[in-house]
């Protein structure tokens, strides 16, 4: 096992990983930008290092500074969290060649899955269900139009190097196509330093269902069931739950088994999530694979009892899956997570500011993952996530009720937040009945 692990992230995920390291009695090293100096979770770390100014590119995305801190702090492994450099294969390779273990899959997996059309090609090659789509689009507008016609409108223009729902634009007919492609290219260039875009069939009201997998360095991969993350705004998840409602267990577990078998055949070797869309006809198609811990890993932990962060670290340290996971991972009850964002609840615009009041629910059965305490500033430099509120109960209905109570009790003043929107959706008839799809939030809020 590793002796000294550095956490190259901030906020709720830094807090989560530091907690796991403390439970494993591993010397933990945290980093912080000027904006995060004094953040509450830094107290969990055995040692802390300043890494520069507030803007992410000068701190959490600054590879040179981070590598220098890894060396100085004599870390033998690095946990990237999610976001920032967690899916940057070049960085992962640099970390490894500097002699620090990157806690994640081998860099070649990050590279293979990071480019969306190459990941789709790989999925097709290994027999995963994949919907219709194009290769990276050329500049020639006629070829673009022909590709869209072949797929059939509506289509979704997506950045090939993208993620996080950024730069995805629909085109419902040919007249909208050129502009959507042009705007998506510009957003992709800015967001991912890569202007490549491609087309996918735009499914109407699909469900977003994803499969949690864990691999080891010895060729084994297993799954830890699925999560339904259909409730989204701007293609970003807001409410996540496990198991997925209203799907026959036998059917979804057969799909989970086949996904784990495919990844094992590929040789995948650490934590990952295979994201799928489920169409109105019940068919599944591969969306992408995330080669890191997910924001919503907590709901899987609640229903399986497996600590995914510790499992990920143990796998990276060279432990075998059969010692990391119980012989049979079982699904118990139902878990739901709501993401509390500092944003306008109607238009979803970000709302930075000082947390004049910040009182999460005190019920010990409610799990809160946050990087904030009362009095801290929510800065415009980073993601607007304030907290993840996670509940676990014997049934979906009970879990929804408990989550509503927890959100009702959560007091936040000083920034606008989305708790009213979360409560509206959780109390809506379509959500309560399990009739979820990616347009449900817009439907219920309008």
């Amino acid at each position: 096992m590793f002796d000294r692990i550095i956490v190259a992230n901030r906020g709720a995920v830094a807090a989560r990983v530091l907690r796991a390291l403390n439970a494993m009695r591993i010397h933990s090293i945290a980093v912080y930008s000027e904006a995060d100096a004094g953040a509450p979770y830094l107290e969990l770390a055995s040692e802390t290092h300043a890494i520069g100014p507030a803007p992410a590119r000068e701190s959490y995305l600054n590879q040179e500074t981070l590598l220098e801190i890894f060396r100085r702090s004599r870390a033998d492994a690095m946990h990237p969290g999610y976001g920032f450099l967690s899916e940057n294969s070049e960085f992962a390779a640099r970390v490894e060649s500097a002699g620090t273990c990157f806690i994640g899959p081998a860099p070649r997996w990050i590279e293979a899955m990071g480019h969306k059309t190459r990941a789709r090609d790989l999925a097709v090659e290994y027999g995963m269900p994949v919907g219709s789509g194009s290769d990276v689009l050329p500049a020639d507008r006629d070829i673009v139009a022909a590709a869209a016609r072949r797929i059939g409108f509506p289509v979704l223009v997506k950045p090939a190097a993208g993620g996080g729902g950024i730069g995805m634009l629909p085109a419902y007919d040919e007249s909208q196509l050129a502009e959507a492609v042009e705007r998506a290219r510009s957003m992709a260039q800015r967001g991912f330093s890569n202007a490549e875009v491609y087309l996918e069939k735009l499914l109407e009201r699909p469900r977003h269902i994803e499969f949690q997998v864990l691999g080891d360095r010895f060729g084994s991969v297993r799954h830890l069931f699925e999560r339904d993350c259909s409730v989204q705004r701007r293609h970003q998840k807001v409410i996540e739950e496990a198991p997925a409602p209203l799907i026959e267990r036998q059917r979804i577990e057969a799909l989970a088994d086949s996904i784990a078998a495919i990844l094992q055949k590929m040789g995948y070797d650490n934590i990952g999530t295979v994201e799928m869309l489920m169409g109105a006809d019940g068919s599944f198609s591969f969306l992408e694979m995330n080669t890191r811990l997910q924001v919503e890993h907590g709901v899987t932990e609640e229903v399986t009892g497996v600590d995914l962060v510790q499992a990920q670290i143990r796998s990276a340290a060279g432990e075998r899956l059969e010692t990391i996971l119980p012989e049979r991972v079982e699904l118990k009850g139902h878990a739901i997570q709501a993401r509390v964002y500092a944003e306008d609840p109607k238009r979803f615009f970000p709302s930075p500011g000082k947390l004049k009041v910040y009182r999460p629910p005190v019920d010990s059965s409610v799990r809160i993952e946050t990087g904030y305490v009362e009095g801290r500033d929510v800065t415009p430099h980073y993601d607007p996530l304030l907290a993840k509120v996670i509940v676990h109960a014997s049934t979906r209905e009970a879990a929804i009720g408990r989550l509503c109570d927890a959100l009702d009790e959560f007091a936040i003043e000083g920034v606008k937040h989305n708790i009213p929107a979360l409560l509206t959706i959780l109390r809506s008839v379509p959500f309560r009945s399990g009739q979820v799809h990616t347009g449900i939030l817009a439907d219920v809020m309008s």
Binding site: P350, Y382, D383
Partner: protein, 73 residues
């Protein structure tokens, strides 16, 4: 001629200025794009007219409710 102040709806920074003083503006035109918490937020003209003045520069910090440009209608 009347003037209208365009205000920022968020706290963040100015990412890109799209229109320059003197330029004709149509209703719905994007005058500038702001950035906050990894999101791009356009400042949109709700009236047609001429851009009279830019109150902010690219990369400058802006507060919610702050005037960022003045339009002559």
């Amino acid at each position: 001629m009347a003037t209208v102040e365009l205000k920022s709806e968020v706290t963040g920074s100015v990412w890109q200025i799209k229109k320059q003083p003197g330029e004709a503006i149509a209703e719905g035109d994007i005058v500038m794009i702001l950035e906050s918490m990894k999101m791009e937020i356009p400042v949109v003209a709700e009236d047609a007219g001429t851009l009279k003045e830019l109150v902010v520069k690219e990369a400058e910090a802006v507060a919610e409710g702050q005037t960022v440009a003045i339009l002559e209608i």
